[in-house]
């Protein structure tokens, strides 16, 4: 595909803006808290900005491309990742968990774990988190470079260096604030850049009714076909509600520092609590931007006009190319530049999110904890900046490894899944049961991960898993990899929960005094400072849940 000069100018203007935001914020960076994020009135960022950054940091290229791909593959059921797999957890984070994260004065999620439990639990979380952020930012770098190569014929090395260079420039100059400000800009670009596509696409296929007429019922209903696992996703009601809706969703949205960091950057406790709640409103509408193109593309392919989702060499549909193919098909030169800018923006927001979370955890939870305990603040500021640079260099290296060894990447992704699955059990017990001990938390987490690996080893799905079977029949065969992943998460969570509980009862708890502000029963409820009642956390949460229920009903 050839881009015109207009499209290139649009991309260039966007890149200029991104860099200028970093430069403008540079003068505000004087201490490590300015760079890595500090939460108080002085460092705090306005609520609407933290809220949009909260969802934008998650809206990376894999999310945008992946959701339209899933829309074409699984239909509107993909919206479960939003309406069941995100919103309830975001509400829980805002109402119940933010008071501990923000109120404890911890600078990161791992640091909260040290305050609440002990050093080893923090270390385990910090190291696995830091590794994962570098890995994900490398993989998204790889995904973007492959996409630009296919679409525009840019060389892999050029795409990687250009994109990483831009992210490096604006995160190095302006730190967390620059990443957050740019995430908001990127959010609007993604929404306004893809919305016209949804509009023309729906017009082309005759609206939602047209899609319903073209596609089988299982593709246009979220709940009606969930009674058994005999649906496009191959997941039943229990797996969906427990695996995705509870374990994976709460584990990600409530404990991942990348997201929590955005809320912790708010001006005060009330704003921190409301960050995920306000973010939930646009979040629940995102399926119409990111999933709908997939459904439109599939309906158009069925209609058999001059559009089709491309096919791979083996004859199967190449779902990942759904959104780019749609952009090229529908967008004239000019808007096409905006559409491609939106894709690049989604990648950058994902990568910058990872990089800024990485440099904070590295500086405070690894470097300060294990290498230099009592250095000056300017030293940690310097370290934060260095961490930004080597975080990005490691991401570039990861992108190159991903290009040569795809299997290693799949394996790592699997292992990270095992590490993440039990996390929420630890936080739930830690925050709401003061008897939970550090030994319980640490060994509970490890055994949760082991249980996840074990489950993967004795079950099979789509020819994957079963590496512990040595030729004997699998304990259970799942209909889909997704069904297997959800089941693994449930097992890991239960194992972690039970073992943390048992080991905690057998070990000595911390004194109550040391846990003030860290555990529900020993913490005063935060005083609500917001005067307008409809902007307080509880009415907001009620509105979010009511609207989510309505959406679920509408598309059931």
């Amino acid at each position: 595909m050839q881009l015109s000069l207009i499209d290139y100018s649009i991309i260039a203007i966007y890149l200029m803006f991104v860099l200028s935001i970093g430069m403008l914020l540079k003068r505000k960076v004087k201490s490590s808290a300015d760079f890595l994020g500090g939460h108080d009135e002085k460092h705090g960022i306005p609520l609407w900005i933290t809220s949009l950054a909260f969802i934008s940091a998650n809206l990376g290229a894999q999310e945008v491309l992946g959701m339209s791909a899933s829309g074409a593959k699984y239909g509107i059921m993909t919206a479960h990742f939003y309406w069941i797999g995100a919103i309830p957890a975001m509400v829980f984070l805002g109402l119940f968990m933010m008071p501990f994260y923000y109120g404890s004065r911890a600078r990161s999620v791992p640091e909260y774990l040290r305050l609440r439990f002990d050093e080893k639990t923090r270390g385990l979380n910090a190291i696995s988190f830091a590794t994962m952020t570098v890995f994900s930012s490398g993989v998204s770098l790889y995904a973007l470079a492959i996409l630009l190569k296919v679409l525009l014929g840019w060389s892999f090395g050029f795409s990687v260096l250009l994109s990483a260079g831009i992210v490096a420039a604006y995160t190095f100059t302006g730190g967390l604030r620059s990443a957050i400000y740019n995430e908001v800009l990127q959010f609007f670009l993604i929404v306004l850049g893809i919305a016209p596509l949804v509009y023309v696409g729906l017009r082309k296929v005759g609206g939602w009714e047209g899609i319903q007429a073209q596609l089988p019922g299982a593709m246009t209903h979220t709940w009606q076909y969930m009674g058994s696992a005999d649906n496009p996703m191959g997941v039943g009601l229990f797996g969906m509600a427990m695996g995705l809706g509870f374990v994976l969703s709460f584990g990600y949205w409530c404990t991942d520092f990348l997201l929590v960091q955005r809320a912790m950057a708010a001006r005060n406790m009330s704003a921190a609590q409301r960050t995920p709640l306000i973010a939930a409103f646009p979040k629940m509408l995102l399926p119409f931007i990111v999933i709908m193109p997939g459904l439109v593309a599939l309906a158009m392919t069925q209609l058999g006009g001059d559009f089709s989702i491309p096919f791979k060499a083996d004859g199967r549909m190449d779902y990942d190319m759904t959104l780019p193919t749609m952009l090229v098909y529908f967008y004239p030169s000019g808007l096409l530049g905006v559409g491609l800018t939106a894709l690049m923006a989604s990648f950058m927001s994902g990568m910058a999110g990872n990089v800024t979370a990485f440099n904070t955890v590295w500086t405070y939870d690894i470097y300060q904890a294990y290498f230099r305990k009592n250095a000056s603040d300017s030293h940690y500021l310097w370290m934060g900046k260095m961490a930004t640079i080597f975080g990005i260099l490691l991401s570039i290296a990861t992108a190159y490894v991903a290009r040569s060894f795809n299997n290693i990447m799949d394996l790592l992704q699997l292992v990270f899944g095992f590490v993440n699955a039990p996390l929420f059990a630890t936080f739930l017990l830690g925050m709401f049961w003061k008897r939970t001990t550090g030994h319980g938390a640490f060994w509970g987490l490890l055994s949760g991960t082991a249980a996840a690996a074990l489950t993967h080893g004795v079950t099979m799905a789509e020819g994957k898993g079963g590496w512990l079977l040595l030729g004997s029949a699998p304990v259970h065969e799942f209909r889909s990899g997704m069904g297997q992943a959800f089941a693994i998460a449930i097992v890991a969570w239960v194992a972690c929960f039970v073992l943390t509980l048992a080991i905690s009862l057998a070990t000595k708890p911390k004194a109550d005094e040391e846990m003030r502000g860290l555990v529900y029963s020993l913490t005063e409820r935060p005083q609500e400072t917001e005067t307008r009642w409809y902007l307080r956390p509880i009415p907001l949460a009620a509105a979010v849940l009511a609207m989510t229920l309505a959406l679920n009903y509408l598309y059931h």
Binding site: F17, L185, S333, L335
Partner: protein, 72 residues
């Protein structure tokens, strides 16, 4: 006033979309034959107009609040 505006994220966001809007509308009017997929719609012009409304709204609300702060 300029300092206030540069501190307000609404300003650069609004400015970016206003610029995009002008480019898209001009391109759409100069090359109206780039009609989309058999639909009777000039996508550059309509998407550009939409971005223009959004961009202008963001710029104006930033200017409004900057003026309020300067008066204080």
């Amino acid at each position: 006033m300029l300092n206030q505006l540069l501190d307000d994220l609404r300003f650069p966001i609004g400015l970016l979309f206003s610029i995009f809007s002008v480019i898209l509308i001009v391109v759409g009017l100069v090359k109206p034959q780039a009609v989309t997929a058999g639909l009777d719609i000039n996508l550059n012009v309509s998407a550009g107009a939409f971005m223009g409304v959004f961009g202008l709204f963001m710029v104006l609300s930033a200017v409004w609040s900057a003026r309020g702060k300067v008066k204080q």
